[in-house]
Point group: C2
Chain length 348, copies 2
């Protein structure tokens, strides 16, 4: 009964898995559950030299040796940010050589890129990295790009989004797969990965910038999560990461459903967007909110739409008030239509 739902189910009974350790089995379960490396896929691995990506490389090589996909190349981006950048690059080149793998290396001045594009160092790093991985995949003729995000990253991202108020547009954390990018370690803790590396006698490069608790992600990692563990008297990352995955799946499906409802109920005009008001009001609140968000984004000309704007439009939809100004447009109810009229030069 293979279908899109089953693609994501867990294989519980495995054949020929006796030679794999528990951590291999856990990675394979994630890989199979989300269809990360389907038969015949050619996987490129993004590697920084840190414990997560080194463990990813070794684990995927083991699974590939025994399995249906192949690891075709490593790819390392030298950010030129840290004093250790040269050491990290040399380490990655050596790892590739030891395993007979090609490695694509690029050097980018991330600081320069960030300031010339008006991006924070973190945002600049992310954009430069994924652009690079896309090019490296094309060069290596890879069909998948594996990156080392772990259960820890998942829990940290969820908490960061939660405290920043991302409830309307997706609290759900990191996707196991998005386009070419796949994340086989998303259910594995960093502690388990490090224990695995230590057990194999493998080294990795520490990233000293991860210790700076002025950075919010590091503060979540080194202060908030340990405090949650103390409160719960046990490890909380697995529970948080699991909740993040479930919330993400709920939200993804509601998003998809709502896109369909938007297509059915909306007419995009040169002046803005019109929605069939009685039909929209009959939908459940999670769908109404998402349809309104989509309509308002289309009329907003790049301005940010928030929960308050969505709720103001919901009130108009229900006949409470005659109109509301929202980013880039005005919302009104006109003869059975909820109309978003784009405002020329409207202020936010």
């Amino acid at each position: 009964m293979p279908n899109s739902n089953c693609e994501q189910a867990i294989w519980e009974l495995e054949v020929g898995s006796w030679e794999l350790t528990r951590i291999h089995q856990e990675v394979r379960r994630t890989v199979r559950r989300h269809g990360l490396c389907p038969p015949g896929s050619r996987v490129l691995i993004g590697i920084s030299g840190g414990s997560d990506s080194v463990a990813l490389t070794l684990l995927l090589l083991d699974l590939a040796a025994n399995n249906e996909f192949s690891v075709v190349s490593l790819a390392h981006l030298n950010h030129q940010l840290r004093p250790s950048a040269e050491r990290d690059e040399a380490f990655c080149r050596d790892l590739a050589a030891r395993h007979g793998l090609p490695i694509v290396v690029e050097r980018v001045d991330v600081k320069e890129y960030g300031s010339s594009h008006g991006l924070s160092l973190e945002d600049a790093g992310r954009r430069v990295r994924y652009d690079f991985l896309g090019r490296a995949a094309a060069e290596a003729d890879a069909t998948r790009v594996a990156v080392g995000h772990t259960q820890d990253d998942q829990a940290e991202t969820f908490l960061l989004k939660l405290m920043r108020g991302a409830g309307l547009t997706g609290l759900g954390g990191i996707y196991p797969r998005r386009g070419l990018i796949v994340r086989p370690l998303l259910d594995i803790s960093r502690a388990d990965l490090r224990a695995y590396l230590v057990g194999r006698g493998e080294a990795w490069m520490d990233d000293e910038s991860n210790d700076d608790v002025e950075n919010p992600r590091n503060r979540v990692r080194h202060v908030v999560l340990p405090e949650l563990d103390r409160t719960a008297r046990g490890a909380t990352r697995p529970a948080i990461a699991r909740a993040a995955a479930l919330v993400r799946e709920d939200g993804e499906w509601l998003d998809e459903l709502s896109r369909g409802r938007f297509e059915a109920l909306a007419t995009v005009t040169p002046d803005g967007v019109e929605l069939d008001a009685p039909a929209l009001a009959a939908e459940p609140p999670p769908v109404v909110r998402r349809v309104l968000l989509e309509a308002m984004r289309r009329a907003a000309g790049g301005r940010e739409v928030g929960l308050d704007h969505v709720e103001a439009a919901r009130a108009i939809l229900c006949g409470n008030g005659r109109g509301a100004d929202v980013p880039g447009s005005r919302v009104e109810l006109r003869r059975g239509k909820l109309v978003l009229v784009r405002q020329k030069g409207a202020s936010k």
Copy 2:
């Protein structure tokens, strides 16, 4: 266009609200958005003597004076737990007298109740309290029971559920309305409520047990949330509470949808539950999980069903493996049916 969706929309444009302060308007917005005190409703207020419930009493009296519902009584439960219990009861009686309101008071030995029913002090307190409020409502002929949960409680509950791994069965925190119980302060911070009381020159009773950081909720309140605020460099409770409300609404609707799908796809037999496998497998994962959870709960005879059990059943549904033992039953695929066979005396 009044319907169940619109009942929950925010009234943005208000008439005659000039005499109400911002905090009154915020409470009224929550009350109207969720239909907490519809026209003609008779509201009983549960009061402990703490800042939240004292502010609730004063705010609802103000709204009632100017509005369509009435406050018919206060209700105070003397838990007999703390040295301050007598003082708190006297304070509540006095508050009622000052406002010319009747007050229902009961004394219960919560510690005794907890140990004789095998419940934690917190669980015993909750059960005894809601039982009491139900009786008090009947006595006062009330149609609603208002309790003082705040935005802070909402954020704390969300974090507690998150760290305990409640992702499968509802992360969404506190409901604004459930049966008779309504929570008009759910969008208001405790800090704002205390500032309001101070501004009015009103006193409240401090609950010294709220300071014990060995209690997980208190630790979240006094240690974890301030640490999140430091990380985000600002107040995080509003964002967390808002996310909790949105996740709750998404989950509630998916639960409702899934109950409908369960009814359509399941046959409950004397031996267990049968599900139409191809039809179920065609549903999206959020619905599949909830239908399986419901089926497994029915066959589990009170045993707890977790995410791993649901995922094991999903794997069987997709043809991966011949069967799995789950709490109280065995899951198998038989001629187009996913069958949960109740196991007599099956171990957990």
